[in-house]
């Protein structure tokens, strides 16, 4: 009966959030901190409502100074709304499964759009945080993050990213978590795997989501075990589950 979801009514809550601060992380990407916090575990996400789009938009949750934070890359109407609006933002959360690494002290590799999640994971699992950006990070923002968390490194550009991948592969981390664009995750997984078969690589997958709660089946991904759904089976998957299909 595995293909039916066990439905436990009442698990997911609705929140109305007010933004307190919006930092620029880099071109087009912002760090949004809210007044409130919500109940969630590392790796989980929220569906964020907007006035301008037909669907709510998935964003991974993070914490900053004990408050809820998300990073938002502006790619369309919804992400723009979230960064720009002054109105309260309605979300439903927590969604998806928490990320549970096999042990602590791994490496967390994130694009600027996933920095909020990255900080939270690094803190929770005592891991090293690598921020991988195409464009330079806002220096003030970086200083702020470094003040909060040692073990942060930032690399800029594609070449530096590839070098970093080789470096961390050699460092002997038990696991590496990667969260960013599909492209970035694919490159990271394949590069790391080509040099080492031991390291457990985890990816936070991106698919267009209708519901975020397992109803609509829009967020399908192909895995070695057949179709899985990012919102209920993920969002974090083991790299081998995804890429060996290709």
């Amino acid at each position: 009966m595995a293909s039916f979801l066990k439905i436990e009514p009442g698990k997911i809550k609705r929140y109305f959030l007010s933004k307190t601060r919006v930092f620029e992380i880099t071109t087009d990407t912002f760090f949004v901190v809210f007044e409130e916090t919500v109940d969630f575990k590392p790796g989980q996400f929220a569906m964020v409502g907007t006035e301008t789009t037909l669907t709510r938009k998935p964003f991974t949750l993070g914490l900053w100074d004990g408050r809820l934070a998300i990073s938002v890359k502006v790619v369309g109407e919804g992400s723009r709304y979230i960064v720009e609006t002054d109105k309260p933002i309605e979300i439903i959360a927590p969604l998806g499964n928490p990320f549970r690494p096999p042990e602590t002290k791994g490496a967390v590799l994130v694009a600027p759009s996933c920095v909020a999640e990255g900080i939270h994971l690094a803190e929770t699992f005592d891991a090293d945080l690598y921020i991988c950006s195409k464009t330079p990070l806002n220096a003030e923002f970086l200083a702020m993050v470094t003040a909060e968390l040692d073990r942060v490194k930032c690399v800029v550009g594609d070449e530096a990213f590839i070098r970093l991948l080789d470096e961390i592969t050699e460092k002997g981390y038990p696991w590496i978590f990667v969260s960013g664009s599909k492209k970035m995750e694919e490159i990271a997984y394949k590069r790391i795997r080509s040099k080492s078969k031991e390291i457990e690589v985890y990816l936070s997958l991106n698919e267009y989501m209708g519901c975020g709660i397992g109803a609509c089946k829009s967020c399908a991904v192909e895995t070695v075990d057949g179709i899985k759904h990012v919102c209920t089976d993920g969002p974090v998957f083991r790299g081998d589950a995804v890429w060996t299909t290709q």
């Binding site: 039916f4 009514p9 698990k11 037909l54 790619v75 519901c211 609509c216 399908a220």
Partner: protein, 282 residues
């Protein structure tokens, strides 16, 4: 069909009740919940990407992913949907890949049919190769099928879900009516094609606000030709105003699908307007 309020959740976007995980899903304003279409055989659905939304449309090509009737019946018997039956009336949506599968699934469901307020047959999903919309391509066989199902399920409230393609929806509805069925749901998604921002082509079914004028017209035409049918309106309903328009052109009930992706709380606004309107117009 008597409902606490004639506001129905459409088959598909809301799956098998997963929105019930929300602490505050507005069940009190849902007259009936239509389950995602269950087909005879289990379906994995189509390859990703499966959805995109822009400019007033949602496009999807899920492809009727579902566990199939056998697993569905197991789960039903195991009581896993009992919570849903407690919340609201439930409509079952059925499908299949062929004439035989549609008949077979009808026989299989027969012993459980009394648990459902109505049984809806999906003759209009555009995202599957066999069954769905393609079943009506052979009109004579489709007519035979309607009679066959009516014979198997002789006491149930039978609803055919129709789209605007493959024929004139009002003529299709007449055929459904003549076969002794009780109602129709009009419309389903309309076949569409969109390019996402990466330039990938998504070939699927369109839903969302832009369907409203098309669905209004379909309901209007179906009602004109079929005064006797129970009509559930589907397509682009997002507000109380949209719902009232549907009732004005002849719908008996309205259903919401993609709306859930925006915000399920809007159902309450719709239900309140519908109650108000029916209170006034009766």
């Amino acid at each position: 069909m008597e409902l606490s309020v004639p506001v129905i959740i459409a088959s598909g976007p809301a799956g098998f009740g997963e929105y019930g995980k929300l602490e505050d899903f507005p069940w009190q304003d849902v007259g009936a919940f239509t389950l995602k279409t269950v087909t005879f055989k289990k379906k994995e659905g189509n390859k990703p990407p499966r959805m995109y939304a822009k400019d007033g449309y949602v496009i999807n090509r899920i492809g009727l992913e579902n566990p199939g009737i056998h697993e569905f019946l197991e789960v039903l018997q195991a009581g896993e949907f009992d919570w849903l039956f407690e919340k609201t009336s439930v409509i079952l949506s059925l499908g299949g890949d062929s004439f035989e599968e549609y008949v077979e699934i009808s026989k299989l469901i027969k012993p459980y049919a009394n648990r459902f307020k109505a049984i809806e047959y999906n003759f209009s999903c555009p995202n599957v190769k066999h069954g769905g919309l393609s079943i009506i391509a052979n009109k004579d066989e489709w007519i035979k099928l309607l009679y066959e199902i009516r014979t198997v399920l002789d006491e149930e409230f039978l609803i055919a879900k129709l789209g605007i393609e493959g024929g004139f929806v009002e003529h299709q509805a007449k055929i459904v009516s003549e076969a002794g069925w009780d109602g129709v749901t009009v419309i389903n998604t309309v076949r569409g094609l969109m390019f996402n921002d990466e330039g990938e082509m998504i070939v699927g079914g369109l839903s969302g606000p832009n369907l409203l004028p098309i669905a209004l017209r379909a309901v209007f035409e179906v009602r004109k030709m079929n005064p006797e049918l129970y009509i559930i309106a589907s397509g682009g309903i997002y507000t109380g105003d949209d719902a009232i328009k549907m009732l004005k052109v002849g719908a008996d009930a309205v259903s919401v699908g993609s709306l859930l992706f925006k915000n399920e709380k809007m159902i309450s606004q719709i239900a309140n307007r519908v109650r108000e309107y029916l209170g006034n117009s009766n």
